[in-house]
Symmetry: C2
Subunit: 468 residues, 2 copies
Amino acid sequence: MTGPTAHPPTPEARPAPTAPAAPLAALARATGPGALLTDPADRARLATDRSGHRPDGLPLAVVRAGTVDDVVATLRWATAHRVPVVPRGAGTGLAGGATAGAGTVVLDLGGLDRVLAIRPEDGLAEVEPGVLTAELDRAARALGLRYAPDPASAESATIGGNIATNAGGLHCVKYGVTRDAVLGLDVVLADGSRLRTGRRTVKGVAGYDLTSLLTGSEGTLAVVVGATLRLHPLPPRTGTAAAYFASPEAAAAACAAVLDAGLRPSVLEFLDAATLAAIDRAGGAVAAGGQSFVLAQTDGFAAEAEIEAVAAVLRRTATRVEATAEPATAERLLATRRAALPAIERLGRVLIEDIAVPRSRLAEAARGLTALADRTGVPVFTFAHAGDGNIHPIVLAGGQDPAAVRETVDGIFRLALGLAGTITGEHGVGVLKRPWLEAELSAEGVALQRRLKAALDPLGILNPGKAV
Amino acid sequence: MTGPTAHPPTPEARPAPTAPAAPLAALARATGPGALLTDPADRARLATDRSGHRPDGLPLAVVRAGTVDDVVATLRWATAHRVPVVPRGAGTGLAGGATAGAGTVVLDLGGLDRVLAIRPEDGLAEVEPGVLTAELDRAARALGLRYAPDPASAESATIGGNIATNAGGLHCVKYGVTRDAVLGLDVVLADGSRLRTGRRTVKGVAGYDLTSLLTGSEGTLAVVVGATLRLHPLPPRTGTAAAYFASPEAAAAACAAVLDAGLRPSVLEFLDAATLAAIDRAGGAVAAGGQSFVLAQTDGFAAEAEIEAVAAVLRRTATRVEATAEPATAERLLATRRAALPAIERLGRVLIEDIAVPRSRLAEAARGLTALADRTGVPVFTFAHAGDGNIHPIVLAGGQDPAAVRETVDGIFRLALGLAGTITGEHGVGVLKRPWLEAELSAEGVALQRRLKAALDPLGILNPGKAV
C-alpha cells in the first residue's frame, strides 16, 4: 500500500519560533547515551508523518527517548532554551500533527514501548506510549481481553499517537473512541514536571477531566509517557453480514434502521459506488450491480442471533444480503471492505480525508461528495464508519490539476460543515486542517482553546502551530 | 424519604470575595421582570442543596433566569462588579456544590426547562438546562428512545445539574455516565460571552474537548444554558435477576464473572449485609440468610437470553438466584434494591457518601467499610453500582457522636484512596470533599486544575470555593 501524499499547499501555520544557537551539547548530556540524533538523514526522516507534509527546513535534532527521564530532560532543556518540541509516535498521522520544521526538536517516543501490566481483574492495561496498538490488543487477547479502538493503522501506530489524535476505527460504533478507553494518563508538562491524571476506576468525578482534555490534544498540551487503558472481554463469537443497496440513501437508511432497532453492531461500514467500481477494476469480488455496500459485524454473547437480526433489517431494502457466523465466510465478506483503500491507491496518489456528519445526513454527504467530484473533475471515493457518520472521502490527487484538488478538499470540509458536521472525525487537525478550524469552532471557540493552551504551555514549547 | 444532612464540619473553603455594596438595582434592570429575588426567605431557601450544608451568611440575591439573556446579563453584571455567582439547578446535589454564602448571587437555571428538540433520526436531544432528567427520558420514550443516565434523583434533578456533576446512576455500567451522553454544550462564560462546544456528530476531534472539560466542572468554568444529548433506542425487553451470596467476596466475584463473560448487563447492583438487615427491619422482603445481594438487569434485542446467561454465572456461587423476563416478577426483585435507602433513612439522619474503587477491590472495600463501622461505632450501610466499582456508603449520623461520624467519613475517603480509588464516583467534590481532593489528585494536580480555572474564569466569578 503506497502512502497518501500531502494536502495541496494551504495557508501556512505561523512559523515556530527559532532557537538562537540552541545548545544541543547540553541536550546530549541531559539525555541517555545515543538518544540525541543530529544526522541530517535522521532529522529529515523524522520530520514528517504519513501526511507527507514537509514544513520549511529541518528540525535541529531528534531525541529518541529511551526513558521517561529523557522526556523530562528534553522538556526542561526546551523550556530553558525556548525550543519548540514536536512529540512523535510512529508518524502514521494523516493531518501533519507530527511534522517538524526548522528550529524544533523532535521527541520520538517510539522507544518507550513496554506493556507494563495487564490487569484482567480490573479490565485495564498500563502501557508506555510507544506500544503499537495492535500489540497491546494481542497482549490483551492472550488473557481473554481486547483493546477495542482499532484505527486502520493499528499495526504500525502507537498508543501514544492514538491518544494524541483520539483515534477511532471500525469498533467505535459499539465500543467508543480512544478517549472512551483512556482512564488515566501519566504525562510530562511543557516545563518538564510530571503529572498523573484520571484513575483506575471506571467512574470518578474528582476535579476537572484532564484525561479527556489531553486525549486528542495532538501533543500540544503535554507529552504522554504512560496510559491506563480500559480493556473489554474478548468476544467468543462474531457474526458478519454484507449487503448491497441500490442507492446511498437506501444503505444509510438501513444502517440507521439497524441501530434504531436496538441492535449494537461492533462494525457498521459503508462503501459508495465509486469505491465498489475501483475494487471491481482492481479484480476484487464485488457483486454485479451493487451501488452501495454495507458491512456489519456483531460480537458478544449472542453474536449469531444478533447478526441474523441485523441481516433481517438489511434485507428489508437491500438488493442482496449475506450473513454468517462462520469465520471463513466472514473473511470473504470482509475482503470487500479491506480491498477498498488499496484498490483506490492503485489509481494514484490519494488524500485520505476524514469528516463526520450527523447520522441522518450520511446519504446526503455521500451524494454531495459524488456531485463535488463531478464538478471539480477530481475523483472522490467514499467509505464511511456508517454507524458514527464518520466518512473518509478519498481524493485521487495523482495526475490531477492541483487547483482542482484544492477546490475538492475545500469542498469536502465545506460540505461537512454545511451538514452540521465536523472537519475531522478521528484523524485530528494537525497543520493541514487548521485553515478550516475557525469555520467549525467559531473565532471565540478557537480563542478559548488558545487560552487553555496558554494555561498548560505558557511558552508555547509543545508542538506549536498544530491543532489550535 | 427524609433528606440527608450536612457532613460534619470540615476545614472551610476560602471565603468567597464579598461585593462592596453591589448595585443590585442594576442587576434588577438588566434581568427580566421579577427575575431578581431579594427576599431573605428566598435567599435562604436557595442557599443550600440536598447536602444541607450552609455557608456563613445569606447570598445577596437570587436571579431566577427565565431566558438565556438573563444568564448573560447576570454574568456581565457579576464581572463588572466582581460578584461571585453560584449556578443552581434543582439543588439535589449531595456535595454542597450549589451552596451560596454571603456576598454571592445565586443563578437559578430551573426556569430554562424546555426540551427544544428530539431528533430520533440522529439519536439526540437538544434541551435547556432546567429540564428534569426523568422528563427528558419520558419525552424520549414517547419517540421510542431513552436518555440513559439515571441518577437516583432523576425525578427531581435537572440536566444542567447532571452535567455540572457528571452524574451517574444504575445504567452507567452499560451506557456510561453523563459525560458519555453529552455531545455538545451551549454555555455562557464568566464574562457573559457565549460559546458552543462539541457537535451533533458521534465522533469529532476538531480542537480540545471542551465539552468533557466542562462536564463535571460543577459550575466553576461556565454556565450551561443548553445541551445536545445522546439518546439510545428504548429497549423493547428487559430481563432481571436477583441473587444472594454468603459473603461480599462471593458477590463481588460473581459480578466480575458476569462482566468477564462478555455479558453487558444494564444494571449490576450490590447490597451488603447491614443494608439487607435494615430492609428486613423495615419490613421489606429479604431472603432469610442473605448476606450479600446482587441485582442484575439486561436489555436490548436478546434481553431474555442474556439474563439467563447472567443468572447461570450467578448460580455458580450464589445461595439463591431468581431470574425473570416478566415485568411483575421483575418489580418484586427490584423492590429489594429500591427499599435500601428508605429503610436506612428510617433509622435517622444519614450522610450519603460516594467512592469508587477498581472493580477487583469491591469486596475489600465492603469489608473495610464494615470494619470501619465496627471501629468507630457509627453504622455504615453499603450499596454499590458493582459493575463500576462505585460504592455508596451510607453513614448513620443521627444520634451519633459527631467526632465519631467525622472519623467515619474520613475513614471512608482514606479507604477509597488506599484501594487506588476515588473520593467521588458520581456526586462531585462540591465544598464538602475539598479537604480530601489533594490527597487524590496531588498538589501538582490541584495546581494545574486551578490554572485551567484561571484560564476560563480569571476573576473567580463562577462558583468560587467549589470543586477545585
